[in-house]
Amino acid sequence: MEMASARENPAGGRPEVILSSTRSDSHTWNLIYIQLFLEEHGYRVTNLGACVPLDMLAEKCAAARPALIVISSVNGHGYLDGADVVRHLRGIPSLRETPMVIGGKLGIASGDPKAAAGLLAAGFDGVFSDAPEDLAAFGAFLRDLPGRSTVDSPCPPVRPGEVLSAVTA
């Protein structure tokens, strides 16, 4: 059973995010912190925890069809493991348009822009380091997601259906 959402609410009204680590990463404090952060931004979080096998992650995401998938990893293997994760998930038709991001300590040294670009090319919608400015950027990303907009957003979000039509036109 995943960690119960700290601010439990009836399911209605709060979009679901699936939060997970990678199969090689046993760290969990980053997952707790990001869960709290996501809840503060209005999400209901399903936290899969550490050492998540790829099949299990795919099965949970395909079944839940969440509003967002967040991969958090701090063991320095995130650039490597993340590529496998996103390619596998994007191969599932129902998840092709699902917003997916990855963040944390993704490499052995500090942020690697080339590796980050590789993850974006592989299918992630956002790649964030664990630096404070990237956390702020992650917060902005969450606020700008479709369905999360307020009247203060600089640009109204595009609904997933509209994007899909354009792509398949």
């Binding site: 995943e2 119960a4 404090w29 709290l36 503060e40």
Partner: protein
């Protein structure tokens, strides 16, 4: 049991001898892939100016039974982060340890440290190598680091304990240390840590072990930690009659100070805590804990620093306020023991029902309803006791709504306090 070699003094006896002489045993974490390097590390620990125990820390692949990955690394494809005891085989490990022991006049204890929820192959390798001391537990190596179901970990550890205990003989008394006093290393109120440590020790005893140690990890508040150590010793005495046992303290297992001075002050406080709290052994942390795996020299510095701090600490004793840690730990231990005369079954049911529920633990079997925070004094308090069998009023509200920023502050509390030139109030 193999071989006809003379066994070294049993691990428990070595620690008891040091304790009788008023010396705190200090021990590192240390593991190198190559037996030549591992031997050099053990030799340096033996020669340190302190009463020491040597450690063989196993690599991550060995801990998860990923033996193909071990073979690839040992064939030159990468570097292991510990000693692959299964790969090297009993003869190599035994010869390595024997040669280190032969260099000194005093007996030298060696303990294998790992983190495996299903350690059958590791225990087999330990026995093959003629080693007599290791650590872990059915819950403490399952809930924090793995996805192995608790029922499976319990069954595996029961088998390992019985095989390990059966290796006892003339001059050989196998020793097991509980990791339950640590769990996730941070943010767990002491009553639960003490309870899990005691329950794992009872589990070891029920499965045949006669020499055990009970761990407790240094937390955020020195008086609260001393109260926890007193509680641990009371419950150990009640439940482990007839066994040889001692308490081992772990220097802080959470986010570590960034400065050398902060790190060494924290270690010194851990040594003082161990001595005042009646513990016989301390596992140290080094000045570089926040950054990387230490060199052997950095480990020796830490061992000697801890030993000097322990010498200056005097002896056990001094009373601390009773804030209810013993009552809480006792309530948890008794609730679990009352569930089923078979402790294996009781542990599984206890976790299932949330009678043991580790705050912030993401293991699929952990109920995940409990929460903890730091109060204004830095003491660990329950904000939500979930289904724990504790009296009403055991939980207190955190001063502010405990969001991500407060959580981050709680995780870094010890590091910030020790790194600050002036204590943070």
């Amino acid at each position: 049991m193999t071989g006809g070699e003379v066994s070294p003094a049993p691990f428990g006896d070595l620690v008891a001898t040091a304790a009788a002489a008023g010396r705190l045993v200090v021990q590192p974490r240390m593991g190198m892939a190559d037996p030549v390097d591992m031997r050099a590390g053990l030799t340096a620990v033996r020669a340190a100016r302190a009463a020491t125990v040597g450690t063989i820390t196993l690599d991550s692949y060995t801990r998860c039974d990923a033996h193909d990955e071990v073979r690839r690394a040992m064939a030159g494809e990468g570097r292991l982060n510990g000693y692959p005891i299964v790969f090297h085989g009993g003869a190599t490990t035994r010869a390595m340890v024997d040669s280190v022991r032969a260099e000194g006049a005093e007996p030298f204890g060696v303990q294998v440290r790992h983190g495996s929820a299903a350690p059958e192959r590791i225990f087999a390798a330990i026995a093959e190598a003629g080693l007599d001391a290791t650590e872990g537990g059915p819950l403490s190596y399952c809930l924090p680091y793995s996805r192995v179901p608790v029922a499976e970990a319990v069954a595996s550890w029961a088998r390992c304990c019985e095989d390990f205990a059966a290796s006892a003989g003339p001059g050989r008394r196998p020793h097991l240390e509980t990791f339950g006093g640590c769990m996730l290393g941070q943010m767990c109120p002491p009553g639960l840590l003490v309870a899990i440590s005691v329950l794992e020790a009872i589990f070891f005893a029920r499965h045949g072990l006669r020499s055990v140690s009970l761990s407790y990890a240094q937390q955020t508040h020195e008086e609260q930690d001393r109260e926890a150590l007193a509680a641990l010793r009371v419950l150990a005495a009640e439940h482990l009659t007839g066994l040889d046992w001692h308490v081992v303290v772990y220097a802080y297992m959470g986010v570590y100070p960034n400065t050398v001075s902060g790190a060494m002050r924290l270690l010194g406080d851990a040594a003082r805590l161990a001595v005042r709290g009646g513990a016989a052994r301390l596992i140290v942390k080094t000045a570089v804990e926040a950054y990387r795996i230490p060199t052997v020299a950095e480990n020796i510095t830490a061992l000697e620093h801890a030993a000097r701090a322990a010498e200056a600490a005097g002896g056990p004793g001094g009373t601390v306020p009773d804030t209810g840690v013993l009552a809480e730990a006792r309530a948890l231990v008794e609730a679990v023991l009352d569930l089923d005369p078979d402790l294996d079954r009781a542990l599984v049911v206890a976790v299932e029902r949330g009678l043991l529920d580790v705050p912030y633990c993401l293991h699929p079997d952990n109920r995940g309803r409990t929460r903890a925070h730091l109060d204004g004094d830095g003491r660990l308090r329950w904000s939500d006791t979930g289904a724990l069998p504790l009296p009403h009023g055991s939980a207190v509200r955190a001063a502010s709504r405990f969001g991500s920023a407060d959580f981050q502050r709680a995780l870094s509390y010890v590091a910030r306090r020790y790194d600050a030139p002036v204590p943070i109030t």
